[in-house]
């Protein structure tokens, strides 16, 4: 019984972390049809910026609680600066190319960003661990969790609800939905598709960076930290359905629970449990859980 509780709690915490990252990946794909391989690097970039800025904040002796705001601000900084630079400076020249070519463009970007980050931050680990333990602990029976994990869950819920409201509750969001459904007709109707693309990529970048910024206190920020994350995020969005926001949420929960179940009951299969689930889901729902079959063009 207590194991079951642990599986659920661990699974949900892990799922929250995954969701923040996967949400950015899926929205960029949904709107722009770009499966962004560099998403993991943007995640790492968010972590690096957060570790530097929050670290500076704490060393300067400002209120430790303010470091949470610095973490979020770091993510926004990355999103608002790096996002448009990549989209305007590179991606817009590739619109209309094959989806796979776009994957490769972002893969090249991933390579460039990995080395660029190394040139800026070096290969040494960066730490900003204070915010992790600052809030104290929460006890679940014999197990105790840092309250920071709850922050993660709350952040994921806020991101989820915020995106839902932003997409379905605002005019801009409705334009976005129109672009998702048909880019050409939207453009013909006078929607500024270019601007929507830029905003979307900015949003996606911010979410990746937010994932990284919130993770930074729980890890040491090191080169290559984005590589593992990106494959996991892929698995999540493929399970949930590429481009689907509820899909990303459900996908994260499935992956989170499967992984924590494997860790508690069958540690031997942890390594490939997620890919097994991904293959199983695709075997029965070829387009993931939440995507309606597309009409075939004759």
């Amino acid at each position: 019984m207590s194991t079951l509780v642990a599986v659920l709690v661990d699974g949900i915490i892990y799922a929250s972390w995954l969701f923040i990252i996967a949400a950015g990946l899926t929205i960029v794909y949904g709107v722009m049809r770009i499966l962004n391989m560099a998403h993991g690097s943007l995640y790492a970039l968010g972590a690096y910026v957060a570790a530097s800025l929050a670290g500076a904040w704490l060393r300067a002796g400002y209120a430790p609680l303010g470091s949470y705001a610095v973490l979020v601000a770091s993510a926004l900084l990355v999103g608002l600066v790096v996002g448009p630079v990549i989209e305007r400076g590179l991606l817009r020249f590739c619109y209309g190319r094959d989806e796979v070519v776009l994957v490769l463009v972002t893969y090249a970007l991933f390579l460039i960003l990995e080395d660029a980050m190394k040139l800026v931050w070096g290969v040494e680990a960066w730490f900003v661990s204070e915010p992790y333990g600052l809030l104290g602990n929460l006890d679940f029976g014999p197990l105790s969790y840092p309250l920071y994990s709850v922050v993660m869950v709350v952040a994921a819920v806020v991101v989820g609800l915020g995106l839902r409201w932003g997409i379905y509750g605002t005019r801009q969001g409705k334009l976005l939905v129109a672009v998702i459904h048909d880019r050409e007709v939207s453009a013909a109707l006078g929607i500024n598709v270019n601007r929507i693309f830029m905003v979307t990529f900015m949003l996606g970048t911010t979410l990746a960076a937010l994932g990284g910024a919130l993770t930074a206190p729980t890890v040491s920020v090191v080169p290559g930290m984005g590589v593992e994350t990106i494959v996991l995020a892929f698995a999540v969005v493929v399970i949930g359905g590429l481009g689907s926001m509820p899909g990303a949420a459900i996908g994260s929960i499935i992956v989170g629970l499967v992984r924590s179940g494997a860790v508690h009951w069958l540690p031997q299969v942890e390594l490939f449990s997620i890919y097994l689930v991904m293959a199983l889901v695709l075997a029965f729902r070829p387009r993931g859980l939440f995507v309606a079959a597309e009409a075939r063009k004759i």
């Binding site: 400076g89 590179l90 031997q268």
Partner: protein, 438 residues
């Protein structure tokens, strides 16, 4: 979809060209050293310069090579190493990134040997790379010194003429860890493990578990966690470890994974409930100072780093290294020094035997079975037909004093207690002929 493709503008082309050019130019090799009486001895040094292993291992090793070779070329190393370079011959280093996997490494190895014509290769942190490169070294007949990789398979499954390993293999780390655990906690009943899911982690755990079981058969393993290399999030693993309330938790984690595990375990009190045994923990002890609770057991994969015996050479090495780097040298730095000094000793031994400029075969003949001094004490190439080094093993327990990590209960184990004798495979040795320490 028919959105017309925007043609890339000229500036984009210019930018990418600039990018390309600058990244190449930024790396342009330094000017050739002043003309020496003979052509310099060129060593290809292969170590991680990118990826997760660069920070904890690759870069400290590279720094060590730079510091040591500069001092050797200037003749400033104390003790028996006063001769400039290799017996008067200047040393030149070529660095290669070890990232990219075994196929790439074999490719790069052939490149530095056949195209850049190095005189010897020192390198390899990853065991997979060592296993892949060793037969190629034999094929190309090039003296190759493995300086860090852990797997015992290299000289246990095959024998080589051109390949040497100047550091002990990983069996030492885990046999010694198990002995240390039993020494400080003879009544230990429940242990657990968390190791990365790849050969290093699997072998480390297997050796540790087998040694414990051999020396104390009633030990119970509550769980053996094997998260993916680089996973970074260990919430569920920590819960699973805590659920079994083990007294000792073995981990061969390193780099970012180790940092993340310690940081995530700290607020949850995992390492206060059970003592952590971190076999490669020394590389992270400076950065994690304050996060490692008192009682944590740490190893340095031999008598390296803080566990290195006091000697003139060691004092000199630490000072020289710290003059150039912010952190003190860690075990990969020591192991790099062990490799370079091994080569120097062999070269000068061959000179002493009568060859003014010894051939590679003469160096190899001198290298086999050699005994020499290094900052981590005496190194002896005693096993693997004289190609594999043995050394003592050291473990200690963390005690935080005023924000600094110090060690208590430091125990040293001579090589014969932690490494199999010549011709015996590690796994068999642990199972059949392991003897308790006196």
């Amino acid at each position: 979809m028919n959105t017309s493709r925007t043609a890339p503008s000229r500036w984009l082309f210019a930018v990418s060209l600039l990018f390309f050019a600058s990244s190449v130019l930024a790396q342009a090799p330094a000017a050739a050293p002043a003309a020496a009486p003979q052509a310099p001895f060129k060593i290809g040094v292969v170590t991680f310069l990118s990826g997760a292993a660069a920070g904890p291992f690759g870069v400290p090793a590279r720094n060590s090579a730079e510091v040591l070779v500069e001092a050797l070329n200037a003749g400033k190393v104390p003790g028996a190493y006063g001769k400039k370079g290799l017996g008067g011959r200047a040393i030149e280093l070529v660095f290669i990134d070890e990232a990219g996997g075994a196929t790439k490494q074999v490719s790069e190895y052939r490149d530095i040997v056949q195209r850049q014509n190095v005189d010897a290769v020192i390198g390899y942190i990853s065991s997979g790379d060592c296993l892949a490169v060793a037969p190629v070294a034999e094929e190309l007949k090039k003296l190759t010194i493995l300086f860090d990789c852990g797997t015992p398979r290299i000289f246990e499954d095959a024998s080589f003429k051109y390949v040497f390993r100047t550091a002990p293999h990983a069996t030492l780390d885990n046999v010694a860890a198990a002995r240390y655990v039993l020494a400080v906690k003879p009544k230990v009943k429940k242990v657990a493990g968390i190791n990365q899911n790849y050969a290093w982690g699997q072998d480390s755990w297997n050796d540790f578990e087998a040694t414990l079981k051999a020396l104390k058969p009633d030990v119970e393993v509550t769980t053996s966690q094997m998260p993916k290399l680089g996973a970074g999030q260990y919430g569920a693993e920590i819960s699973a470890l805590m659920a079994g309330s083990p007294e000792m938790i073995h981990s061969s984690f390193w780099g970012g994974d180790l940092d993340a595990l310690v940081l995530q375990a700290a607020p949850r009190g995992l390492f206060k409930k059970g003592t952590a045994v971190l076999t490669a923990g020394e590389t992270a002890m400076y950065k994690l100072a304050g996060q490692l609770p008192d009682g944590t057991i740490i190893g340095a994969r031999g008598a390296n780093g803080v566990f290195a015996p006091d000697s003139e050479l060691n004092r000199w090495f630490r000072t020289a290294y710290q003059d150039r780097n912010t952190l003190p040298p860690v075990y990969p730095s020591y192991r790099m020094a062990q490799a370079i000094l091994g080569l120097k000793s062999a070269y000068e031994k061959a000179q002493a035997a009568g060859a003014e400029v010894p051939s590679q075969d003469q160096v190899i003949a001198a290298f086999e079975g050699i005994t020499y001094e290094s900052p981590s004490g005496t190194v002896k190439l005693a096993i693997g037909k004289g190609h594999q080094a043995v050394s003592e093993a050291v473990y200690g327990t963390v005690k935080n004093v005023g924000g600094k990590v110090t060690f208590v209960d430091v125990k040293r184990y001579p090589a014969e207690l932690v490494l199999p004798p010549e011709g015996v495979k590690s796994a068999d040795w642990i199972k059949t002929s392991l003897k308790p320490a006196k």
